[in-house]
């Protein structure tokens, strides 16, 4: 029965975290004869664990599997049960389900292979057209100038955040004197809330290698570094395997494909510093120093790592390059808007129903992305805002969700495209708290070189904490705005220049929330601990004592099994919310 069965399990970091290894083990027990394959993450993180089962010429993609519902799928494939509709994403007979919209409404170029192949199989990568772009370049006799021209036609801009035209960057380095030249792949994805680089590096490492090869050929680089965060162990592992296999196949190393072009790549493991997303800081880190940025010029394209011309490209940018060379720059430029061509990958998370990775054409509206692909609010409460671009970005309120995805349109709102992290919030979130969270992040991550960034972010964090604790004044709000301007002006690198963005945008769109904290001493989202109190509603309490057992500060007292005896001592209570979480009859009110 299971002899011709092929079972493909999504084993990216998300899949593994959701329990993919256990599901694989159970399936192997149930279908010992089946052939098992593993693929990277297809990006439907909300439906992990995902398994595709192909048998008898038909294939079924199942999502949201766990130990409890797996038997239904097993029974169906043994011909003993009905098709469990609620877990089906799509099948040969049923291409369209509500769940499959998530995939069909996307345009996947950078993510073309992720989730479709075993990331560490050279054969499968070759079968999907892998390394044919570099073959076309080298064997087809394209000159580096022609390669740059093709990329110029595509109009692709750096996907790491700043959006600088890739072809222009390459032209600088091509013409710069000095040997050897370096190409660095920036995989130090530090923006909390973005994970497209992780997914690409672990789900399709060869495409990034191929992108690096083409870039190196274009600028004349002979040495490459892949700077990858240590927090991504699976990405590091897969990328290292891909490098070995590429060397064996003759795509990396001395005189590649019989040409005069030689290039090899070394992995540098990032040690955890957000500022290393900044070019010159990343270079300092590769050189073994503290990751502190320096003044530009000289730009890295002229004087980069070890003083040599260096180009730093983002993972997502590089993953697009082979596609552009194979299909032509014009095909890529056809997608998108006037000034922002092609597609962009976003990491959807937060209060959204269907979170995960999505790649959409530029020009789609934020509303379309959140509603049609993301499925709207997870909780049923109305959405309030979306935070775009992480700590360097800003929030866009619900009233402006019709803004289209385009570098200039998004910049006009005060937010930035950034690396593509999209954290969605609903009405039960506090925008002041969110701004405080980001300032705390940038304050810790500031390298300390520029005074305004080092001390200014600390002062902003202190003011925001003061407001969140209910001690803020209206003058504090003005001081925040003033500090924000100063920090922007007096910081050397992108970290400081953009650090105030979360505060500026929340002040712009959610000033009423700040005012509520300051004048009414009220947190509209019910988040800020200093502005809420916890009370037991006697009519609902059953006296089970579970709240007491979870209270970390012993603030709750009462007699076991006697309702009406339980009280929270507000002097001791730290408003951590543990009691609310564990209370079965929802008898604790936080307001």
């Amino acid at each position: 029965m299971s002899g011709d069965m092929v079972i493909t399990v999504g084993e990216g970091t998300c899949g593994v975290a959701a329990g993919a290894p256990e599901i694989t083990k159970l399936l192997k027990e149930r279908f010992p004869q089946a052939q098992f394959k593993q693929v990277g993450c297809i990006g439907m993180c909300h439906l992990e664990v995902m398994v595709e089962i192909s048998t008898g010429g038909k294939s079924y993609l199942w999502g949201g599997l766990n130990k409890k519902n797996l038997p239904k799928v097993v029974r169906f494939h043994r011909g003993q049960g009905d098709l469990p509709e609620s877990m089906l994403i799509r099948s040969t007979d049923q291409q369209q389900t509500e769940r499959s919209d998530y995939l069909t409404k996307q345009t996947r170029i950078a993510l073309r292979n992720v989730g479709q192949l075993n990331p560490i199989s050279m054969d499968q990568f070759r079968a999907r057209g892998g390394y044919s772009a570099i073959e076309k370049v080298i064997k087809g006799g394209m000159t580096p100038e022609q390669v740059i021209e093709e990329v110029k036609i595509s109009s692709i801009r750096g996907r790491g955040g700043a959006g600088f035209p890739t072809a222009t960057k390459w032209t600088f380095a091509r013409g710069a004197p000095g040997e050897p030249k370096y190409l660095v792949c920036n995989g130090d994805e530090g923006d909390p809330g973005a994970f497209m680089d992780r997914s690409l590096l672990e789900g399709d490492p060869h495409s990034v290698v191929e992108g690096m090869l083409i870039a190196a050929y274009a600028i004349g680089a002979s040495k490459g570094y892949a700077y990858i965060r240590a927090e991504y162990p699976l990405a590091l592992k897969h990328f290292a395997i891909a490098l070995d296999d590429a060397r064996k196949a003759g795509f990396l190393g001395y005189k590649i494909l019989g040409s005069n072009f030689s290039f090899d790549i070394k992995i540098k493991e990032g040690a955890g510093a957000f500022v290393c997303g900044e070019e010159t800081a990343l270079l300092a880190s590769i050189e073994g120093q503290r990751g502190m940025p320096r003044i530009r010029p000289p730009f890295p394209a002229i004087q980069g790592v070890f003083g040599k011309p260096t180009i730093i490209n983002n993972v997502e940018t590089l993953a697009n390059i082979p596609w552009i060379l194979l299909n032509g720059g014009a095909a890529y430029a056809k997608i998108g808007t006037e000034k922002s061509r092609g597609t962009k990958v976003f990491a959807l998370a937060g209060a959204i129903k269907r979170g995960g990775l999505v790649e959409v054409p530029m020009g789609m509206s934020i509303r379309q992305l959140l509603m049609e692909i993301g499925g709207g609010s997870a909780s049923g409460r109305p959405l309030k805002a979306v935070q775009l671009g992480g700590p360097s970005g800003g929030c866009i309120p619900e009233s402006m969700f019709d803004t289209i995805i385009d570098y200039d349109a998004i910049n006009a709102t005060g937010a930035i495209m950034g690396s593509g992290g999209m954290v969605v919030t609903d009405t039960k979130s506090c925008m002041v708290d969110l701004a405080r969270f980001f300032l705390e992040f940038t304050q810790i991550e500031s390298c300390g070189k520029c005074t305004f960034c080092r001390i200014g972010t600390l002062r902003m964090k202190e003011l925001l904490t003061k407001i969140c604790e209910g001690h803020g004044t209206l003058e504090d709000i003005d001081t925040l705005a003033e500090l924000a301007d100063r920090i922007k002006d007096a910081s050397l690198c992108g970290l400081g220049q953009t650090a105030p963005n979360p505060v500026l945008t929340t002040l712009k769109y959610f000033r009423d929330e700040y005012i509520a904290h300051v004048t009414d001493k009220r947190c509209p989202g019910g988040v800020c601990k200093g502005l809420i109190t916890h009370t037991i509603m006697q009519d609902k309490c059953t006296g089970c004592s579970i709240c007491d057992r979870y209270c970390p500060v012993n603030a709750i007292t009462g007699e076991l099994k006697k309702p009406n005896t339980w009280v929270i001592d507000k002097k001791i209570c730290i408003n951590c919310g543990m009691c609310v979480e564990v209370c079965n009859p929802d008898a604790i009110l936080a307001a």
């Binding site: 530090g190 809330g193 240590a230 927090e231 040690a271 955890g272 073994g288 990751g291 951590c576 564990v582």
Partner: protein, 185 residues
């Protein structure tokens, strides 16, 4: 067992081995420290001194790097390491409560302290681990636990401690309870 016993015994041969393998010029600083930390869980002073004596790297660079990057720590870790993700998605979905309940179970009261008094577990806050759609997330010894509430984190910890024969010095809510996300299955 107490925290004092957590100090690592450094084998000079191993440190020499890493220097030979990775290099001794100044660009080797970060990878050398990474090698030391992945062996001992932190940077023992003795291992750092060996690096200083046997490479071109000077003390200001080595300690500068060791204190700059979030990955490195100068104090010993507990026998098991809990990493609590504090990325944006985890934050907005209540990652703070994981810390509250884990610290409660481990009896860690002092705000500056991150290791239980018996040296069993260390709690470390980490920047985004990139599983944002499964927020909030924590890792115990590298194994990920997704979609947690504060109480779930504690229950997973209790379960883990049981299998590893560790004693939790603090107060866990309900030791024998199944974590909520497994109960439904």
């Amino acid at each position: 067992m107490s925290k004092a016993s957590l100090e690592a015994t450094v084998d000079p041969e191993k440190v020499h081995g890493w220097i030979t393998q990775i290099g001794s010029d100044s660009s080797a600083a970060v990878p050398l420290l990474q090698a030391i930390q992945s062996e001992y869980g932190y940077l023992p002073r003795k291992a750092m001194n060996l690096v200083l004596e046997n490479t071109e790297i000077n003390a200001s660079q080595l300690f500068g790097v060791a204190t700059f990057y979030a990955q490195f720590r100068l104090d010993p870790v507990g026998r098991h390491l809990i990493k609590v993700c504090h990325g944006t998605a985890c934050h907005v979905q209540g990652a703070d409560r994981l810390n509250t309940s884990l610290r409660h179970a481990l009896g860690i009261v002092d705000e500056k302290e991150d290791t239980a008094s018996n040296g069993s577990y260390t709690i470390e806050n980490v920047a985004c681990i990139g599983c944002c759609s499964l927020a909030p997330v924590m890792l115990i010894d590298g194994e990920a636990f997704p979609n947690l509430k504060g109480a779930d984190a504690q229950k997973h910890l209790v379960k883990h401690a049981k299998t590893k024969g560790e004693i939790l010095p603090g107060h866990a809510g309900e030791g024998d309870d199944q974590p909520a996300d497994e109960k439904e299955k």
